[in-house]
Structures are given as C-alpha cells and as structure tokens.
Amino acid sequence: MLIYILRRLLVMIPVTILISIIGFIIIQAPPGDFVSSYIAGLEAQGDIIEPELIDSLRARYGLGEPIYVQYFKWVSSFIEGDLGYSMIYREPVVDIIAQRLPSSFTISLLSLILVFVIGIPIGILSATKQYSLADYSFTVVGFLGVATPNFLLALVGLWLLFKWTGTVAIGLYSPEMQNAPFGLAKFIDLVGHIWLPALIVGTAGTAELIRTMRANLLDELPKQYVTVARARGVKPTKLLYKYPLRIAINPVISTVGWLLPVLVEGEVLVSLVLGLPTIAPVLLDSLMQQDMFLATSIIMILGILTLVGTLLSDILLAIVDPRIRGAV
C-alpha cells in the first residue's frame, strides 16, 4: 500500500512540472512582455512608476534573459510562496487567494458530497426497480441534468428567484450577516445560502452518477453469485449491500478524481452568474485586465488541488479494491 502511494506520488512530480510550464505559457501568451503590461496597467490607474521599480521587476523575473531562466525564476518564487503582486487588487496574490479560495472550496466540496448523497441512492433505486415509474422519471431528469449546462441552470434559477422573492443576488450570507464575526449564527446563515449554488454546481455530476451507478449495478445484478446468494436465503437488502453494490461502486470511486475538475469548473461559472464572492470573479477580473500573476496563480492552484484530489481518489480506490494495489 505504501509503495503504491509512493509510486503515485512519483508520477505526480512530472505532471506538476508540466502544469507549471503550461502556467508559464499562459503568462507569456498575451502580446507584449508581462512587466510592460503590468506597468501600463499601473500607469492607467494614475500611478507614477519609479524607474527603480521597473528595473527591480525586470530583474526579478529575468526579462531579457533566455526564456528558461525566466521560467526558473518564476517557478522558484512560486515555490517559495511568493506569487507576485496583483495590480488590480493592490494586494499580494497570496492574500487574495487565501481570502477567496475557502468559499470556492466549500462550494465544490459540498456539491461533491451532495452528488454522492443524492446520486448513489437514486442510482441504486433506479437499478433495483428497473422500468418502474421512478426509474423512468429519474432517467428523464438525469438526461436533462446532463444536457443542461450549470450556468444556464443558475441563470434560470436566478430568474425564478427574482420572480418569487424579488431579490437579485443570492450571495453566501444575508446582508445583515455580511460583516458579522464568524460564529455559529453566521455558520447557520451560510448553510442556509450555500446549498443552492452547491446543488446547481452538482446537477450535472449527480445526473452522470445516477447513470453510471444504475448501469454498473444492472451489469452486476444478473450475475450468478447474486443468484447463488439469493438461493442461500440471504436477505435482499443485505445481499445488495454486501455483494453487487461493492463491485458496482468501484468505477464510481475511480471517477471522483475526474469529477473534481468538473465541479471546480462548474463552480467558476455558477459563481459568476450568481455573483458569489468566490475565486471565480477574481479569475475573470484578472484575466480581463491581464493581471497575469493573479490569473495564473489561481489556475495553477486549482490544477494542483485537482491533482491532490485525484491522488486521494486513487488511494481510496486502492483501499476499496485490492486488485488495484498490485497494478500501476
């Protein structure tokens, strides 16, 4: 098991390096070198730039030096935790991300939980009661859920909310709680608001999970070991949980890692539509105004978090399914 985890970690190293290269390409992608656009941005806001500052910035990111030197300078400062300085927020990038990332993370995590809590039981129900009314209705809902992009769902949700309550924004807290210190009351307030975006973010994932779960379980149910167990008089519920479900759930666990980027992505769009104070609006702003340090840092951190998530799901799968440990 330990060897398996170590191997998995080793594979992650080149991937992380590649992600950083992609990140560096993104910084380089806009026309002009990034310090020039950085300075142009500061000047546009009416700041007077000291020539020394320009020089120090150029020296720090090794502009004018070969491209690989620039890359190493950027990566080493990234590893040291110096993500640069945001021109539009006038704060170190680290601080901005630290403020915004928790709420993004909470929404994604909560929708992950919702996806499982809703998806798995419905999938089981659909498979065991195949071709029942419930099965048909969940299948229809599932197809619609897969086909409807989350942000459109958010837009429709926003419209319905406005129709019924007249409120424009959802937010994560009620207005009176916005500036309250974090405590139990604020937490309850948060729970009251966060479930809707989490549900919207998770819709497509839930629909997908219902389909996978149903198909997997239907593949297992007609097998002989199920018939044998039933013939031996194992109680239906116990039989279901003890044999076919354990096999049917493996592919579900292995896809958690791929579900994560989908949720992060969904969170970005849904937050933009609903106007939630997550990392998403910052990402859009920073891209729009070419604040490339901020933008790239956000993308890199989302990427690395996804990698960690994939690792966790792989480890989880190895715990559940002993056959995996030997493979890789």
Binding site: I26, L155, A215, I299
Partner: protein
C-alpha cells in the same frame, strides 16, 4: 452499455433463416446501421439534428428577417400569439397575428404591448422581406415564412433589447454554435489519432511523455484554461479568425480524451491474432495501423466523437456568455444569452432565455445519437 454479456448484436437474429443469412453476410457498417436504427431515441435525435443543421445552413432563407435590422419601437416586444380564430369567432385556414400597439402603464410608465385586435396580419410561406445573400452568393429577398405585409414584423419568439427579432438571431446563432462543435471535434480527432496513435504504437519513453502531458492538461480545470487562452486573442480580429481560434482553444483540451481512447485501443489490439497474422504476412507498420488497427475501432471513435461535440458547444456558449469568446457583432447562442444576462430585463422578458431551450435540445440530441452509435458500434462491451 447495459447489454448483458453475449447478447446478439441484432435482435432479429433468431427470427428466421432469411434474417440469419442477411446478418451473416452483412458488412460491419451494415450491422452498425441496423443496430442504430433500433435505438428509437437516437433516430429521432438524428432527425432533430438534421433539421437544426438544415436551418443553420440555410439561415438567411429560414430566418424571416435580417439579424441586425432593429425596430426601436418593438424593443422587448413579447412573442406573438399565432391565431386561427378572429375576434368575431370566424375560423381562418391561414394563420394570422394581431400587430402590437405600444401603450404606457399608467402607474409604472413601463412600456406595455397589447395586441391590436382590429388589424389582422396573415402569415405566408415564401414571402418577400429583407434582402440577403445566401452564402454570399445568391441574392434574394424570399424568406421561408413571414407576414405577407412586408412592413409588419412577426414576433415568433419575441424581440431582443434593441428590437431585433429573437427567432432570426437564434437561427443565425445556430450557424456558429452548431458548427463549432463539428469543427472542434474534427480538430481534436486529428490531434487525438495522431498523438494517441504514436503513444500507443511506439510505447516506451514517447508514451510516458505524452501520457504525462495529457494528465497535466486534464488536471487543469478546463474552463479557466480556456478563459486564460482566449484572453490572448486580440479583440480586433475578424469574426472568422476568432471563431477558428476559439475552436483551436477548445480542441487543446478535447484531443486528450480521444488520444487516451486511441492509445488504449492500440495497446489492446496490438496483441490480437489478426495483427500477428498481418505481421507474419510481411505488412509494414503503417499498413498495419491504417489497414487493420484503425478500421477496427473507427466506429467506436466516431461514437466517442459524437459524445464530445456537446462539450465543445457548451464550451463556446460558456466562453461567449462570460464575454471571453465571440463578441457582439458575431451571433452565437452564447452571445445571445450574454445579452440576456441582466436579471431585471430578464424578469420582464423571459423569452430572452429561449436560446437555452435550443442549446439543451441540441445537446440532448447529440447525447442520444452518441449513445445509439456507441451501442451500435461497440463490440467491446460484449466481451
């Protein structure tokens, strides 16, 4: 997918000797076609998609108006009710509408459109309207349908925020939104086959490197990556160039899943007996790849491609919706939704959300067709 192991590929196989003979001599593609036709939803979806693409190709002719000509007095006019029975209760075989009369709400001073029941404007097929050039080649002013009175405007799905006809704009938007998926998938297909094929056939270090690149591209959340790349597109580019740039950006992530599938198939098939036989026969590597390996999973790849198209369509819609994709003079479903973003406008004019319906229907249709193709083409689930 849920097919039990060992199921007959064609349900009619046991029906009699005649069918049996037919199945035995049928080519692989014939078998695929028969199997596909059994999937009712997929067939219906294929018809729907065919209709959508027909409309997209002949947008100028199908749309009753010019997508850019606006009628300020009809700003945010609701959809017309198409009627057959006039206020006196007489039935008319030719459908008609009552034109809108704009009045002000005495309390809120908001513009309210009421139907003027004294005037009847009949609809017609092949009516004259705004002049256009079909594909920039044929000049005409005949539209598939519209009001017989050229001056009046038929508001089939309502008017937008500056008084342009929404149905017309949805029809024109289909042209970009529906083709972007096809072009994007074609590009992903090319990259995926090439890189995945190399990876799977050469193996070793090349395979290692390519696999790590794919993993890192997939680890990055797709949408932020797309957003970051589309920022690099200059905003003064013409629509066509932006269009292809967006397609390229969408394919940067899209090719990875195709490449994975291709590689997996190559690995699995390399060990098959027929490949060994071809090798013993003295066939070259390239001949083995293109004559034996590729045809044996091409149908499967096509099914996967069909399922990838909706992702591309959604990608374009999302990018345009947040303002990073195609920009305003261009018309796509995402651009239309971006214009519908203001919630206060939306609350009073819910028809601005109608592009959503077209997006969902086309995505559903692609999913069903893809499912049908996969069931028809995928011999691997029967193992």
């Amino acid at each position: 997918m849920t097919q039990a192991a060992g199921a007959a590929p064609i349900e009619g196989i046991a029906a009699g000797d005649q069918t049996d003979q037919r199945v035995l001599v049928a080519s692989q593609w014939q078998l695929i076609r028969w199997r596909f036709l059994q999937h009712k939803l997929a067939v219906i979806s294929l018809v729907v998609l065919g209709l959508f693409y027909f409309v997209a190709v002949f947008a100028e002719f199908v749309a009753p108006y010019d997508p850019y000509i606006f009628r300020a007095e009809l700003t945010l006019a609701p959809p017309h009710t198409i009627r057959f029975i006039d206020p006196e209760g007489n039935f008319h075989l030719r459908p008609f509408v009552h034109p809108f009369k704009k009045t002000l709400d005495p309390e809120t001073y908001a513009a309210v459109f009421v139907e003027d029941e004294t005037i009847m404007q009949p609809l017609g097929l092949f009516v004259r309207g705004d002049p256009y050039e079909l594909w920039g080649l044929f000049e005409s002013e005949i539209h598939l349908f519209g009001l017989q009175d050229q001056e009046a405007r038929l508001s089939l799905l309502g008017q937008d925020t500056v008084g342009r006809d929404l149905f017309t704009r949805i029809v024109y938007g289909a042209r970009i939104s529906l083709t972007i998926g096809l072009v994007g998938v074609a590009m992903s297909f090319f990259l995926g086959i090439l890189i995945g094929g190399l990876s799977g056939y050469l193996g070793g270090t090349v395979d290692m490197v390519i696999q790590r690149v794919i993993e890192s591209l997939r680890a990055l959340p797709t949408l932020p990556l797309w957003m970051a790349l589309s920022i690099a597109l200059p905003s003064d580019w013409p629509v066509v160039r932006t269009y292809f740039a967006i397609v390229l950006i969408l394919s940067i992530v899209g090719w990875t899943s195709i490449a994975r599938v291709v590689r997996g198939r190559f690995f699995a098939l390399r060990e098959e007996d027929f490949v060994g036989a071809a090798e013993l026969d003295g066939a070259s590597n390239l001949r083995i790849i293109f004559r034996y390996l590729l045809p044996s999973f091409l149908s499967y790849i096509i099914a996967r491609l069909t399922l990838a198209i909706p992702q591309m369509i959604l990608g374009e819609t999302a990018l345009s919706f947040i303002g990073l994709g195609l920009q305003a003079p261009a018309i796509s479903w995402g651009v239309l939704l971006k214009e519908a973003q203001a919630i206060r406008v939306l609350a009073l004019s819910p028809w601005l959300l109608l592009p959503t319906v077209f997006i969902v229907v086309s995505i559903l249709a692609f999913n069903f067709v893809g499912d049908g193709l996969r069931d028809a083409s995928d011999p691997y689930t029967h193992v």
